[in-house]
Amino acid sequence: MIPSDHFVRFYNEVFKFLDTRGLLQAYFDDVARYAASRNLEKFKKGGLQAVYDHYLVIRKEENCDLDLEFGDGELHSYMRKCPSLSKVLDNDASASPHYCLHCPGWSLPVNTAAGLYEVYDLMEPDVPHCESWLYDDADRAVKKYRELIAAVPVSRVRTNIPPALLEDAGKE
C-alpha cells in the first residue's frame, strides 16, 4: 500500500511518466472527472458555500496552511504553504515541473460545471503557495481577472471565465 501520507509523491511520479507520453493534460481531465464524481453535485447544489465547506475539510485533513475568506459572493483562498507541493519538494525523487497544474486542472472544469467562475494565480511553481478567487457572478470574476493580469504575468494565471467575456479583459 502506498500510505495516504505519500500519495502526492506517487502522484508526482505519475505526472513525470505521463508527461513523457504526452498524456498529462488527458490525466488532468481524468482527475477532474474523478473530482466531479465526488464533489460536483454538492457544489452545484450549495454553490460557493459548498466549496467553502469542502475546503474547510481539506484544510484540516491535508494539513494546509490556508487562509480562507468567504462572504459577499466571493471565496478567496490564499495557500500560504501547500502541503502537497511541500511533500513533492521534500522528496528523494525529482519534482515534476508541472506539478502545480493539477490543482486548476481539476478545479476549473469542476467549477465550470457547477456554474462558478474561478481566477487562479499559480505564483511560482517551485514555491508551495498560490492564490485563487471564486465567484458565482461572471462580472466579478472578470473584474478580478483584469486586476490580476494587470499586476502579475498572465502566464501564471488560470481561469474558467468563458473566452468571450475575456476578449476585452486587460484593455481598460
Binding site: M1, I2, P3, S4, D5, H6, F7, V8, R9, F10, Y11, E13, V14, F17, L18, R21, L23, A26, Y27, D30, V31, Y34, R38, I58, K60, E61, E62, N63, K87, D90, N91, D92, A93
Partner: protein, 148 residues
C-alpha cells in the same frame, strides 16, 4: 529513522486517488507501464530505505511498514528473522477506506504494494513478494540472500 516523518492529519481519500491514477496509467499505457511507475516510486521516493537495505540495514523498512499501517489503523502482525521480514496486513486500510467511499479497488490495486516493495529492494540483497490471503488480507515478505 524515517526519511518522511508524517505524523499529522490523514487524508484517507487519497487511497481513492491512488486507485484512480493507477487505472488511468493502466488504461492508457498498459499494465507494464503501471508497474514501471510503481517500481520507480519504490526505488526513487524510498531511496533512503533502498540504500539502507543495500547496506544490510532493514530498520527503516520495518519502521516504515509499522508506522504507516499503524497510522491508518490497520491490524497487522510483524515477524522478523535474520533473513526474512513477514508483515501480515489483516485488513488493508486502503481497501477498507475505498469501500467506505463507495469505491471498488481496481483488480490490479495490489500492484502498488507488490511493485513499490520490489522497487525498494532493487539492487539490494533483498527480494520482495506478496502472498494474497484474501481480498484485503496479505502478507508482505522481504527475504535477504543468506550471507556467504
Amino acid at each position: 529513522m524515517l526519511r518522511y516523518q508524517e505524523n499529522n492529519e490523514l487524508h484517507r481519500n487519497f487511497h481513492g486517488s491512488t486507485d484512480n491514477a493507477m487505472r488511468f496509467v493502466e488504461k492508457t499505457c498498459g499494465r507494464e507501464a503501471l508497474k514501471e511507475v510503481l517500481r520507480k516510486t519504490g526505488r526513487d521516493v524510498y531511496k533512503s530505505i533502498r540504500e539502507k537495505l543495500a547496506r544490510g540495514d532493514a530498520s527503516e523498512l520495518i519502521e516504515h511498514l509499522c508506522w504507516f499501517y499503524y497510522r491508518e489503523n490497520a491490524p497487522f502482525k510483524l515477524e522478523v528473522s535474520e533473513n526474512e521480514i513477514r508483515f501480515e496486513v489483516l485488513a488493508c486500510p486502503a481497501h477498507v477506506h475505498m469501500k467506505k467511499m463507495g469505491l471498488e479497488p481496481a483488480p490490479f490495486n495490489c500492484l502498488q504494494t507488490e511493485e513499490v516493495n520490489a522497487g525498494m529492494c532493487e539492487g539490494t540483497p533483498w527480494t520482495s513478494a506478496v502472498e494474497h490471503i484474501g481480498p484485503d488480507h496479505c502478507v508482505q515478505i522481504f527475504r535477504k540472500e543468506p550471507s556467504k
